[in-house]
């Protein structure tokens, strides 16, 4: 009998898992469920709009639906109740829903005006349907965090409009960046430069920016090859000189408090490794320090706490987890691919051990109202490409209602 797998979250982890499952067992019924009407998760909404090459993995994921028989069920919000029903309907359910809430620093002053979190900001910049409005930036930004998300934001804030050609950055975000009053960005890491989380290539890319003057304060040295590579990448940035926007890299500073002038942030106090405190004046404090589960309708902490083998991604009988939902907000797209391949092998081994039951499978999801199928997504995709401005490759539709309208434009038979 044919087995069925429902994967909650059609982002890179879920798609790679579907790929690994279908490569090994082409007859499996593999369904990708997403709370958004559109697939691909962070490839669409997390990879920066000027990194289209990184988004090329989407071409692999399209094959899942176009050739390998996977189904997409978009606009389906899975809570614990629906999760239980899915577990009854499918032989295996995998939670690959990612982590979407910004981690907080947990220091005084975090709720002042001018404190902006990276997830909120990238959702607004990348036209996510659940985004808040683009915030008001000041002239002096302190950007806290040294991961690739921080480097993405630094690069976008520093690019000239011409340097965004070919991206899929929307008109509103383009205008917001072009009018930004930002004069200076100080990017601060808690770790020394050698231990920074960013990839060296992401930093090297900054050396090509035309409108900046970059300085690096105390990058230190490292005997480790990985650390040395990061320091060398930072050293290459001294080539970026003469532009009007000042970028300053600082390391080894832990924020201890934000100070306000009225309701708006005016300074951030740091402590260094020697315990000395210092302050940096700023009117905008941007954090890019990682993600957590947030509202958590799936009760991630509880599920992981009760898991029979959390390291292997096994939560309970027939219930698995992959990607950031399992590991926390670490790891790039290829790391999630490797993970997905390991989990796929485990799921298939579990299928081999247990007799197949009689499950409803995809008939259960296909009968739900207001789902967006892959065909529906293809209509949205075509509309977005057709609406692209000449120097853009796509114009994302940010409104959920508009997406649903486009997706449902033609009646389609339920698969």
């Amino acid at each position: 009998m044919n087995r069925s797998v429902a994967i909650i979250g059609a982002g890179p982890s879920g798609c790679y898992l579907a790929q690994a499952l279908l490569k090994a067992e082409p007859e499996l019924a593999v369904d990708l469920v997403d709370r958004l009407p559109v697939p691909y998760g962070l490839v669409r909404y997390g990879v920066a709009p000027d990194h289209q090459g990184t988004k090329a993995v989407i071409r692999q994921f399209e094959r899942l639906f176009e050739r390998q028989g996977a189904h997409f069920y978009g606009n389906v919000a899975v809570d614990r109740l629906l999760l239980d029903k899915l577990r009854q309907a499918y032989d295996a359910v995998v939670l690959a829903a990612g982590l979407s809430s910004d981690r907080r620093l947990g220091i005084p002053g975090e709720d002042l005006d001018g404190v902006i979190r990276a997830g909120e900001l990238t959702r607004a910049l990348y036209d996510h349907p659940d985004a808040a409005r683009l915030p008001k930036l000041g002239r002096h930004v302190v950007l806290m965090g040294n991961g690739n998300v921080a480097i993405d934001l630094l690069r976008l804030l520093a690019k000239t409009p011409e340097e965004l050609a070919g991206s899929d950055l929307g008109p509103e975000a383009t205008d917001w960046l072009a009018r930004s009053p930002v004069e200076e960005i100080t990017i601060v890491g808690r770790s020394p430069a050698a231990k920074a989380r960013f990839d060296a290539v992401m930093v090297k890319e900054l050396a090509r920016l035309s409108g900046v003057t970059i300085s690096v304060v105390d990058p230190g040295t490292s005997d480790e090859p990985e650390g040395a590579k990061k320091i060398e990448a930072l050293a290459s940035l001294t080539a970026a000189q003469g532009g009007p926007k000042r970028i300053i890299f600082r390391f080894g500073l832990t924020p201890v408090a934000l100070e306000g002038d009225g309701s708006r942030v005016a300074a951030v106090r740091f402590r260094d490794n020697a315990g000395m405190e210092s302050a940096l004046a700023c009117d905008t404090f941007l954090t890019a320090i990682g993600f957590e589960a947030g509202s958590d309708v799936l009760q991630r902490d509880h599920l992981l706490g009760e898991a029979s083998d959390p390291e292997a991604g096994i939560l309970a009988e027939g219930l698995y987890t992959a990607g950031w939902f399992r590991r926390g907000p670490r790891g790039t797209i290829p790391e999630n691919r490797t993970d997905a391949q390991v989990l796929a092998a485990r799921i298939l081994a579990d299928f081999d051990r247990a007799p197949a039951g009689r499950k409803a499978g995809r008939a259960f999801l296909a009968s739900r109202p207001a789902i967006v199928t892959y065909t529906g997504w293809q209509r949205i995709d075509a509309a977005e490409r057709a609406a692209a401005d000449p120097d853009r490759c796509r114009r994302k539709i940010a409104s959920r209602a508009e997406m649903l309208q486009l997706a449902a434009r033609i009646e389609e038979p339920l698969a």
């Binding site: 790679y16 289209q52 692999q60 090297k204 890319e205 691919r337 490797t338």
Partner: protein
């Protein structure tokens, strides 16, 4: 002709392209596809033509699946004289300094062991406007034509 397509991949893009190239060549040739991570350098066969498809990762490095092969090649004194290969690279010019370093490194490893490179290394830019297969299919056809002359001469 016997053709083996070897791929080095990190995100799966090179793997997909390798399989697509195999699909193009299968009608006229005996084609097999293997991940470099599963390929032992002692397995090279003079009667076979090797099409290598390789991406780049990080700072111009070989992708994860090509790393064990590179280590084995570095540790080995295997002579690959008479082994014919061609290389197609995948890269992203957003990171221009290291653009397509992986495929370059792979070609160098093969040449260092005396293998014979057929044609020029062709590279695809993920940030460019071409689809990888639109460059890779004509490349594969041309390399196979070149190799059939060469391998014919040797034999």
């Amino acid at each position: 002709m016997n053709i083996t397509i070897l791929y080095g991949t990190e995100t799966g893009n090179a793997e997909m392209l390798a399989e697509d190239i195999a699909g193009e060549l299968e009608a006229e040739h005996a084609v097999s596809v293997a991940n470099l991570s599963d390929f032992d350098p002692v397995g090279f066969d003079q009667g076979c033509f090797y099409l290598m498809v390789c991406s780049t990762y990080g700072d111009g490095e070989l992708p994860g699946s090509a790393q064990p092969f590179a280590k084995a090649m570095e540790a080995s004194d295997a002579k690959l004289a008479g082994i014919h290969f061609a290389v197609f690279g995948l890269g992203d010019s957003e990171y221009d300094e290291t653009f397509n370093g992986g495929s370059k490194r792979l070609a160098e490893l093969m040449l260092a062991h005396g293998a014979v490179q057929v044609g020029e290394r062709v590279i695809h830019d993920a940030s460019g406007s071409d689809l990888a297969e639109d460059l890779a299919f004509p490349w594969a056809a041309e390399m196979v034509a070149l190799a059939s002359e060469r391998i014919g001469e040797v034999a």
